[in-house]
Each structure stands twice: as structure tokens, then as C-alpha cells.
């Protein structure tokens, strides 16, 4: 059955259309004025203002390696992070500690540790899986480079970005 949509009855003011134009102009003028007097909040002006101050605690930025308070590398090259990494961004070359070291034959160390930042998806699984708490996601988000080689973070770069993490790791911490 046909249904006729009832048309609204327009008043004279609505028919001549000009009052609504003026009303519309008033609305846009209000927006313009509020912008000019700085009452409207605008988006963050990125390169001048940055996220850094507002970054939440749980923010996941670039993955980095850390040393302990004695300056030893925490990573024991167990390669769990390499295996868990979904985009396979991590490549570890395990190495034997020299015999004169007191930890020789106890643990390994990474002879090479590379994270391909073109592949990394910042998921944080490497941090979660690490039994030694050697890898952490820091808050660096602007990872840029002009070549592929530059985007391949090697061991020196990773330790430089990571810094020191002291204190007991979860494995030995009875509170955790």
C-alpha cells in the first residue's frame, strides 16, 4: 500500500529561506570566533608539542635490551623472544661465555642481537616471554631512518636505548 510521507507545513519565514541562512551564518560565526579567541581546543601541534608528557605507563614503544646493576647483560640468549616474535623481527646469535668468566658453562650470552624495526609490531610479547627480564619496551615511538640498515637495531644500539634495570628479576623474587 502506498504511503504518502506527510510534508511539513512551512511558515512564511521558512519559505523565504533567508532567516535560516542568517541563523546558519550566526552558527558558523560563533565557531570562527571561538577559534580566534582560543576557546576551542585544537589537536596537538605535533613536532612542537609532543606526546611524551602524556604518555601512559603501559605505553609500548621500541623494544630494547637492559643490563643489570653490575653492568652485565641480562640476556642469556635463550632465544624465547626470537621464537615468540610474531613478525620474526628478532635475530639472536648465541655465544659461549669465555672460560675465565665465573659464569662460564652456566649461561650463554648473545653474540649478536638484532631487532628489525621495519618488522617490529610493538606487541610486547618479547618482554612478556623473557625469563630474565632482559628485554623491555621503552617509550620511544619515533623510530626513523633513511635506510633499511639504519632501521636494523643491533646490540650496541639496543643497550644504548635500554639502559640499566636493577633489582631482583621476577624469577628470584618471592613477592612476584
Amino acid at each position: 500500500m502506498a504511503y504518502t510521507v506527510p510534508r511539513p507545513k512551512l511558515t512564511f519565514a521558512e519559505k523565504i529561506y533567508l532567516p535560516s541562512i542568517v541563523a546558519g551564518l550566526a552558527i558558523t560565526w560563533k565557531h570562527l570566533k571561538r577559534m580566534l579567541t582560543g576557546q576551542t581546543k585544537v589537536v596537538m601541534q605535533y613536532p612542537e608539542e609532543k606526546w611524551d608528557a602524556h604518555m601512559p605507563e603501559h605505553y609500548r614503544g621500541a623494544p630494547t635490551l637492559v643490563t643489570d646493576e653490575h653492568g652485565r647483560e641480562r640476556c642469556v640468549a635463550c632465544q624465547l623472544c626470537e621464537f615468540i616474535c610474531p613478525p620474526r623481527a628478532i635475530r639472536i646469535t648465541p655465544g659461549e661465555l669465555p672460560t675465565e668468566s665465573e659464569f662460564s658453562k652456566v649461561e650463554k650470552y648473545p653474540a649478536g642481537f638484532e631487532i628489525d624495526m621495519i618488522r617490529c609490531i610493538y606487541c610486547g610479547m618479547c618482554e612478556e616471554v623473557c625469563p630474565e627480564q632482559a628485554i623491555f619496551l621503552r617509550k620511544d615511538y619515533a623510530i626513523t631512518g633513511t635506510s633499511r640498515a639504519e632501521m636494523l637495531h643491533d646490540k650496541t644500539k639496543l643497550y644504548e636505548m635500554g639502559g640499566v634495570f636493577d633489582g631482583l628479576i621476577h624469577k628470584w623474587n618471592p613477592d612476584k
Binding site: 533567508l18 541562512i21 546558519g24 551564518l25 552558527i27 558558523t28 565557531h31 570562527l32 577559534m35 585544537v42
Partner: protein
Amino acid sequence: MDFLNSIPWFLMATSLAKTIFLVFLVVLPMVSYTVYAERRVSALIQDRLGPNRTGFPLTLLGFKKDFSPFLGGLGQPVADAVKFLLKEDLTPGHVNKPYFWLAPCLAMMPALVTLSAIPFGSEFMGVKMVIADINVGLLFMFAISSVGVYGIVLAGWASNSKYPFLGGIRSSSQMISYELCMGLSAVPVLLIAGSTGLSKIVDFQVREGWLLAPFTDGNLSLRELLLWVPVGVAFITFTISMFAETNRLPFDLPESETELVAGYHTEYSSMKFALFFLGEYTAMIAGSALIVVLFLGGWHVPFMPDGRAGWVWGLLNIGTFFAKVAGLLFFFIWVRWTLPRFRYDQLMKLGWLYLFEIALVNIFLTAGILALCK
């Protein structure tokens, strides 16, 4: 002065100076900064910031720092121009080449030619600030500005594809319809001022007060009070027709990008596209200048001497004229970012069934008032 004006080379030299001043020092910079203003104002109205970065890259010239003026982004028009000049100028294979090349020129030239009849100042150092002071100035403006439609129609036709074609067709019918109301709504002004020469119309407004603000000569007679009604109506209809004539929103159907991709300039790129763009904005400036001359007193500043009293006043008059034009341009931009586009049949209905009749009745009203109160 008359003696000097009778010497041909003096006339030629001053005309050339005025043309260069008007076109290259005022109108073309004004066009590019209108485009910038369009983007900034639209952004501010929509609670954004708009282009606020591009400064002048002085570091390229060996300076220590780039120069970004107070608002930022004032270098944007320069960057745009460079971009347009360096882009690839593509001529599609299926177009009608001679007309395809002719169209952008035809879109740009009439708008610039109409400027020649506009009195943009009183007198400066004894020279009248109008390039061609012809006594049919208004008719000349109408005649030349209607040539502007050929650029658009040719572009639509020569592009040989459907969306530009539709844009061209829409443009021609829209221009024909609205030219009529525009001409008719200017007739009351001619009746009141008694001349079609634009300088004479301005002189009349200097003597008797601006048409839209008759109190600017210091007194307000009953005749002026009565005439205020038809003049106000004429102003509104003339302004609406001007919006349609310059293809501005809410009447930008020839290029309505949501329906016709980009309308008549879909197939154009690079500087040829930029010429359409420049033509549109130049036409906007010419249109605003015409509104200023007809209704807002031209270069006149109330209760101030004009250019005959000294070169400072001459400069002030020129400045006033372009300030008024800039005000109207802001209004054009403001309306564009407020109103939605008309539907095509609504546009035609508005033009033929309402504006045309209103303008026609308005002429009789004005004539009646003029006949009753001498």
C-alpha cells in the same frame, strides 16, 4: 590636468601604470591570498587550524632561519603557485585540443578585463584611479563577465567526457538564468544614480550618501528612507545572483565535486587547472568590486576629503576600496562554509520563479518612489 590628459603618451603611460598596479600588485596577490583565506577561514569555521606551517624558506637563500610571519602559513600561496607550475601538464588523448587549450584562457581573461572599468580609487596625484572610465561601465561589466561562461562551456565540451560535459551544461544554463536577475536588480541603482558609468555612480554616492547607507552624507531625507527598501532588495538579489554568476557555493553546481567529480575542470591538470581556479577567484573579486561600486559607495570614506585634497587621501581611498572588497570576499567565503549546495531544480526555480520576479517588481517600486518624491 586636462592639458596633460590630452597628450597621448601621458594617458598611455598612466593607463599602463594603473593596469600593472591593479593586476599584478593588487588583484593577483589578492587572488592567491583569497585562496589562502578560503582555506584558513573554512578551517576555523570547522574547528580546525588550516595551513599554518608554510613560511618563506629563507634558509634556501643562505639565511639562518626561515621566516614564518605572525599567523604562519602565509607562504602557502607561493608554495601553491610553484607546485602548479612544476606539475606535469597532461593533455588527455581524447580531447579536442585547440578548444581544450583555449578554455582556461577564456576562463581567466574576462574576469581580468572587467576590472578595467572598476573605479578603484578617487584621484591619486591628479590621475583618476580607473583604467577605462567609460560611460557604459556597468553594461561593459555585464557583457564581458558573461563571456566568462564560454571558458567553462568550452572546457566541458572539449574535454570529451561526461562529467565535464554535465558541468559545462549546468554552468551555461545557470549563467543565463542568473544574468537576467543580475541585470534587472542593478536597474534600480541606475534609476537612482541616473547613469551607467561606474565612476558616475560612485560620484552620486559620494554626493548623496551610499545607496545601502544613505546617511553617510550627513542627512537622511524621506526620499532616501523610502528608497532604502528597494535598494536593500536589489542588494540582496544582486548579491545572490553574483554568487550564482561566480559559481560559488551554494550555487557551485558546475563543479559540484560530490556529483560530477570536479565538473568542467575534471580533465585539467597543472597550470591549466590553476587558470580556472584563478579565473574563478578573479571573477569573485570583480564581482565584489561591482557590489562595492553599486551599493557600498565605492572608494568613498564618509566625512573625509577625497583624492583631490592630497595624495594621502588618494591612497586612503584606494585602501578603502580594497578593504571593502576584502570584506565582501570574506562574506563570500563565510557563506560558502555555511550553506549546503542547492539541488539543480531548486536553483532554477529560485532564479526564474522568485529572484526574477522580485527584481522586476523592484524596478517598478523604485520608479514609483522616484516619480512620487522628486
